[in-house]
Amino acid sequence: MKNKIRYYRHINGQMTQQQLAEKVQVTRQTIIAIEKGSFNPSVKLALKIAAVLGAPIEDIFQLEEDEQPETNGGKT
């Protein structure tokens, strides 16, 4: 899974990893791991990060090409 946390931190007044970590109540190492893509956050943590960065969750976190699920083209 790829993410744009670094980008959104920078457009949010150069927010540091430590500041983001404190706001979502995790360690800085966890933010580093999420940014690097070596740890996938839970939905709860992803929602918290999205709320702090003021952006839609699907814009911050995106699946890689090979991770995309098969869809039925939006048909119900």
Partner: protein, 226 residues
């Protein structure tokens, strides 16, 4: 608060280092006290409602515990094989207890975490009763003796099938059966402590746990319905 937490973490690290490097030279009472402290601290840290661990740290803690579990099993197996090669006889019962009890615990916890507890309790109980019946059948063949010995198990299975919708009654039946087995096999008390530990883990405990889970589920269901 942060400083307080750092002091606690440093103390724990110091205790762990002491245990690893000086373990063999320490008096037994101190070794036990240190081991309890070193093992209990991270467990408490995870279980306390105000845990300071975030989800990645919990994941790392579980992963390291998982790896340590397999390292432990490999070590026990290695010791058992070495004992067998050196002495030419089966290793002492404590090694079987060390190998099998953690495996059974892991298997049971995984089952209960993966599936609906009510279903797992029934699977374990039916499986256990089935294995026991098969054991009797293999010992005595299709005979009157086998039927008589198997009767309590067949009656229990029959009653549980009849009471399947009543979790409390089914659970109570399994608990009673487990207690009955413990009394019936009181002769095991003569055995070595580790043999007893292994036998009680393999025979009445799965039924007792299944029964208690079903009783617990019945109370949970009645709370959910109110």
């Amino acid at each position: 608060m942060k400083m307080h937490s750092s002091i606690l973490k440093s103390t724990w690290l110091l205790l762990t280092v002491l245990l690893i490097f000086l373990g063999r030279g320490l008096p037994l009472w101190l070794l036990i006290l240190l081991t309890v402290l070193v093992v209990a601290a991270p467990i408490l840290r995870e279980l306390l409602p105000q845990s300071d661990l975030d989800e990645r740290q919990v994941y790392i803690s579980h992963l390291s515990g998982h790896i340590a579990f397999y390292v432990f099993l490999a070590l026990v197996l290695l010791i058992m094989i070495r004992e067998f090669i050196q002495k030419g006889e089966n290793p002492a019962p404590e090694w079987y207890a060390l190998l099998l009890i953690p495996l059974i615990t892991k298997f049971a916890v995984s089952l209960y975490q993966n599936y609906e507890p009510r279903k797992v309790a029934y699977w374990i109980a039916y499986g256990w009763l089935g294995v026991w019946s098969l054991f009797i059948l293999l010992s005595h063949g299709f005979s009157i003796t086998a039927l008589i010995e198997d009767l309590p198990f067949l009656i229990t299975v029959g009653l549980v099938i009849l009471l399947r919708k009543n979790l409390l009654m089914s659970g109570a039946l399994f608990v009673l059966f487990a207690i009955g087995l413990t009394i019936f096999f009181r002769g095991w008390l003569r055995f070595d402590l580790y043999v007893r530990l292994l036998m009680y883990t393999l025979v009445p405990l799965p039924l007792l746990v299944s029964g208690l889970v079903l009783v617990g589920q019945s109370f949970r269901r009645s709370t959910d319905e109110t």
